[in-house]
Symmetry: C2
Subunit: 332 residues, 2 copies
């Protein structure tokens, strides 16, 4: 295995504002009290779910600029992505603003991409204030990747529930907030899982590679972090990851958690938990940032994960390539 590449950011850009918006089911979940805005229903006043998803992202970007006490004219660029074909939610959301737009795609790992690229642009001082945003919508993802909602298909036990929600943050060198100190870009890993209803199982090996490289490159161990948080492996995927890391002699202990597993309450019947680009984006930009600002977490290793398949690749019999990027966030 070739080691993946880690770099330390010289100026450690700060997250000077964050904002989250979610659907009603998400609002009743474990992080409900931390979200900025809970929609009354999944349509958000629009006539299609796709337009609702777009409006959620627009709302998140508008909201985060206000929370960071900035004006839209202070923003140099918005870096965003989502799960829809041609990342239309991000592109159409960006249309509402006057600042530049850079589209990224890493499936449910997209928040890591936008944070990584954004922090390098800010760190190098080529951009002053950067908005990072990702989101997803249960109803758009379900009908694009799986089946028409009207079919009411039964969900297998390994399946996860796509989060309806969007999260955004502003990166800057000026202001107050947790700092992004390190990035490890992950590589595409595919151990041959073909079951599109077992994303956690497919993604766990990608996290393993990124984690192993990150610990080696930075000479750190799990104990060096107050929290190690994977994107959306869900219940099964995070158990697989713990086993895989155990095999490598690395113990993920009580400081390890997975956004997908923690998102919903047991009685919400989401089987293996939450998923979607909005999953880790809304946990990170609400609960994690809040707890870092309050001093509960000083050093967090954030590992959003993505399954890089499409319905065409699945129909053509391909297995699921996955990726995981690691971001270290520190509070002074």
């Amino acid at each position: 295995m070739q080691k993946q590449h880690t770099f330390k950011l010289k100026n450690k850009p700060k997250i000077v504002g964050s904002y989250t918006i979610v659907g009603p089911k998400e609002g009743r979940g474990n992080f409900g009290e931390y979200f900025d805005y809970v929609m009354k229903n999944d349509c958000f006043g629009e006539d299609t779910f796709e337009k609702a998803e777009r409006k959620m992202m627009e709302t998140a970007v508008t909201g985060v600029i206000q929370k960071a006490k900035l004006q839209p004219k202070n923003i140099d660029i918005m870096i965003a992505g989502d799960l829809l074909n041609q990342i239309v939610s991000s592109s159409y959301a960006a249309r509402a603003f006057q600042f530049s737009f850079l589209g990224v795609y890493g499936a449910c790992s997209t928040m890591a991409e936008s944070l990584a690229v954004g922090s390098v642009l800010v760190d190098s001082k080529y951009c002053k204030n950067v908005v990072c945003c990702t989101g997803s919508h249960f109803s758009t993802a379900e009908r694009q990747f799986r089946f028409p909602l009207e079919l009411g298909n039964q969900r297998p036990p390994t399946s996860q529930w796509t989060v309806t929600g969007a999260g955004a943050c502003v990166l800057s060198l000026e202001g107050v907030g947790p700092r992004i100190s390190m990035v490890t870009f992950g590589r595409v890993v595919d151990w041959g899982v073909k079951d599109v209803n077992n994303m956690g199982g497919a993604m766990a090996p990608a996290v393993r590679e990124t984690l192993l490289s990150h610990f080696q490159n930075t000479k750190t161990t799990p104990e060096d972090y107050d929290l190690i948080l994977t994107g959306d492996l869900g219940k099964l995927g995070s158990e697989i990851l713990i086993d895989l890391m155990d095999d490598e002699g690395v113990t993920l202990g009580v400081n390890y958690g997975d956004c997908g597993q923690m998102y919903f309450k047991r009685e919400q019947k989401t089987l293996c938990g939450a998923s979607g680009a909005g999953c880790c984006a809304t946990v990170f930009n609400s609960y994690i940032i809040r707890k870092m600002l309050e001093g509960q977490y000083k050093k967090v290793l954030f590992l959003p994960t993505g399954a890089l398949l499409s319905s065409t690749s699945t129909q053509q019999g391909d297995s699921i390539p996955c990726v995981c990027h690691a971001i270290v966030i520190e509070m002074d």
Copy 2:
């Protein structure tokens, strides 16, 4: 109009190698002699067009690493994107390599995104060698965005022909090659065009905004560049751009060209010309780099353009949001 953001790269990363692979029709076009590899047919030995597209991108990445006289282990990251849903061609191509992967999406402007993000990573010295790659395939794009190929639909006069081809380059601070000196990230512009067979018309206003900002920010005029090259506006779109710029008092003269317009010969019957993420990627990484190395062009303003729609957004009655990023490449 808020001015878009331009920055000058301190270390001006060099393009130390480039590689292009195209289909047979593209090989018979105006740039035929400059491509590294012309496929005998569009299937490239694979059983689906999607797998052929993926293999093209793999071939481009392998080829460019060799041409840059590097080993895969010298590459820190590959930044790539394509037109297929969930950019599967890039992700699956990346699976063949051990280095990290970052997915970007800007439709036919994707080459600009990968060059911009790659050059910042190299300029900041966070990455040493970065591979940038984009591609497209006529037969996969046609059936994903328009109609089944078997229908043999008639093409309207404003339509363009998606290029079957992939282009890649390696960015580094060490080695010989043209330098990336400036970047202007564009914003999403939508003047209400809804005709999916008139991409050039939809995209021209986005180029206008990026060009105006770029000229203002850098205090340059069209005469300061040996070549101003837009992505794939095609015949109609580039004429619209010339008019739009004329209205602003900026004359695009003989040093202006469009990859889409120049790509095919008249007798190849592509109506308004070429398009696709592979269009400007294969022109840039073959002809442009060659002519810069030979000294014919000293300073090129490269403006890949992208139409950020999806078939779902079209079906829901949306107009076409577009983007254009500007990259300045200079030869010492």
